[in-house]
Amino acid sequence: MSTMVATKKRSFGSVLWDYLTTVDHKKIAILYLVAGGLFFILGGLEALAIRWQLVKPMNDFVSAGFYNELITMHGTTMIFLAAMPLIFAFMNAVVPLQIGARDVAFPFLNSLGFWLFLFGGIMLNVGWFTGGAADAGWTAYAPLSTTSPGEGVDYYVLGLQISGAGTLMGGINFLVTIVNMRAPGMTYMRMPLFTWSAFVASALILFAFPALTVGLFLMMFDRLFGSGFFDPNMGGNAVIWQHLFWIFGHPEVYILALPAFGIFSEIFSTFSKKRLFGYSAMVFATVLIGFLGFMVWAHHMFTVGMGPAANSIFAVATMAIAVPTGIKIFNWLFTLWGGSIQLTTPMLWALGFIPTFTMGGMTGVMVAAASADYQYHDSYFVVAHFHYVIVGGVVFGLFAAAHYWWPKMFGTVLSDKLGKLTFWLFFVGFHLTFFIQHFLGLMGMPRRYWVYLEDQGLDLGNAISTAGAFLMGLGTIVLLYNIVVTQVKGEKVSGDPWDGRTLEWSIPSPPPFYNFKQLPLVRGLDPLWIEKTEGRKGMTPAEPVNDIHMPNSTILPFVMSVGLFIAGFGFIYQKDNLAWLWVLFIGMGITLGSMLIRSLKDDLGFHIHKKDLEKEAE
């Protein structure tokens, strides 16, 4: 059974079915990009609503309760439903290509991971329509979260549980792909830095997400089944939630930031036309950040009362992370040094990232000083700090990656002019929004308050901050416009528009669904560049043209996720009426039933035959 993808126009239904059933990592990447992009816009709108409420003192744009929902959903959406899936989008699109693999290790799980994320994300947002979304902050501290009325927090718990399961699968999938499926000659120390960072981030997912899973289960039992983990009246302890949440939550920061570092490393090297400076030190720093990232979670809890000994240990450990991060910053600067620099849009984002992220790191060391943190804690200083890190590090990285890998994913190149306009609007808007917030925080403005009083020195700062937020929104609109214009024009580009160095640029854009007709032979770091310097056009194949084994498409991942989505409602509403248990059983039945089908039905994939491959080449 060999199916060659026809390039002719297909009906909407067949395209939809194709995407619902796809197990191709490149299509799943597009699904992640679209879904993550939509949630990014949703989270952005929530942010704008927050800023509009704070534009002037004692504003009444939204009610206090709705404001709580906005800040909760903004944080949750941006971290779990925008940043994570967008990172996964680029990991899916690029990692298999960079290591010279034809697919990921578990195509089925890859698809399942995406659908779980999507239905979990929808679940989270259902709360808006059932009398209020989650309103206990994105950290959902007990007892605020366990006593929050309505179903908002229940949707938060179930939604994150479902999408978290998807993320865990994605993490394991990438680990195994990188361990088992590298092309001949692609040793660990020849892997591009983005692949390395994807590897370390996936390992962090593997070890961090189970703690969140358990935390969410405990919260679910407390809210829905009457257990008493976090309820002092039953002997419970609310601090357990904080530990479990941050044991997950701090590595999560690195799960997001490390792949962004990887993206920038690729971009600096490509557009400086130089090998990445200090490659092995960069790998070492990536691994070290991942390792240290596990031992610092309690710096989010300095004011909980853990005592001076614990606070000191976690403060020192936190500051230690500045060392590998500094190694990275200097290596990027040295990569630029003496290179023939091209100021393309991705490069502009990368250059904007260095000072921005360094400032986030600076304030990071400040808040890491436990005694000083008693002053900063829960103020806008902290808000400014983590936006400098997450937006300045991660979102800049995602924008850079979107411009850098767009040609590889879609075969067209985004307009450089509009791209630069996006950058300047967003970059200026960002600093306008958040730089002033450091000072608002130092002047005593607490985070999460829905109003502030007049004439306390907070008016002007907040107005500036709001203006900046709208500039960022404008930048995003320009990017969307750029995407639409580029795709409508549809000018095809070559496989290697940036004069790239790594394997993904050695194949056409977008790549054929089997990626590599013949697996490439990798002879060093930046394998394509090596071939280029020796006067060859492309990679030397490591094997003759042969039959290629590919996985079958399947609808089961979608069905499994729908089942869990349905079961989620059963879990939530059985607390009102036990008849809802039926919904729970039906949903779990659908999921377990499709798991059984998956287990019983052989799925051996199919082969693209040698003669079809040869025919296509003609």
């Binding site: 593997l206 703690a211 257990s227 983990f229 009246n233 002997g235 302890n237 479990l244 287990s599 051996l604």
Partner: protein
């Protein structure tokens, strides 16, 4: 290697669970998953240890636990671990019938373990009115031990469906990795139980 060779290999390799790339991926991926599961159970153990004295005026672990039943359950589960080792020994020698028999014994032992656990829980609920809602200790106890019990149930359903599905066609390179990782899962369940009987039951009655 074509589909036919995977389902009807001319000869079984020495390690059939790693005979194909898919098999090797499953093998490595499942070990990684077990690494994640370790953190999952650690979070539950940590919660239990933080709350095991928070009895809220209700029953304490000394008053509840009896070691006889736990000892029997432990012996059953440990034995089932050995029987699944035997099953994998025969799998590697391509002795399908023997593998099925040993897996069958494993399943019987697993179900008897599960039966005893259910008996234990109902006993606590009816005799002592000790439930998930009694106290933070109750919540932590039932969640930790119940999570393990849920793993046992899932493992049993998994192994049974593999046995039934492949009963007629015997071993091949497609199902050998499946049997192998199911047995890894079963051993991991035993690993967790070793800590449960030590930390929950033995330390609970001390």
């Amino acid at each position: 290697m074509s589909e036919h060779d995977v389902l009807n290999p001319k000869e079984m390799p020495l390690n059939p669970e790693k005979g194909t790339l898919e098999g090797r991926n499953k093998f490595v991926g499942f070990w990684f998953f077990l690494g994640g599961e370790t953190v999952l159970f650690a979070s539950l153990f940590g919660t239990y240890l933080a709350l095991n004295d928070s009895v809220n005026g209700g029953k304490t672990s000394e008053e509840l636990f009896g070691l006889e039943l736990v000892f029997i359950m432990t012996m059953i589960l440990l034995t089932s671990s050995l029987t699944s080792v035997y099953a994998m020994y025969h799998m590697k020698n391509n002795a399908f019938k023997k593998m099925q028999i040993w897996l069958g014994i494993t399943v019987v032992l697993g179900f008897s373990f599960l039966g005893l656990e259910i008996y234990e829980f109902t006993h606590y609920i009816h005799e002592y009115e000790f439930t998930l809602r009694s106290s933070a200790f109750g919540s932590a106890f039932y969640t930790l031990v119940g999570f393990h019990g849920g793993h046992v149930l899932f493992g049993l359903l998994w192994i049974v469906s593999l046995m039934i599905r492949n009963a007629k066609r015997g071993l091949n390179l497609y199902n050998a990795p499946k049997f192998y990782i199911a047995s890894l899962y079963w051993h991991f369940i035993d690993v967790v139980w070793v800590f449960i009987f030590t930390v929950v039951y033995l330390m609970g009655v001390l």
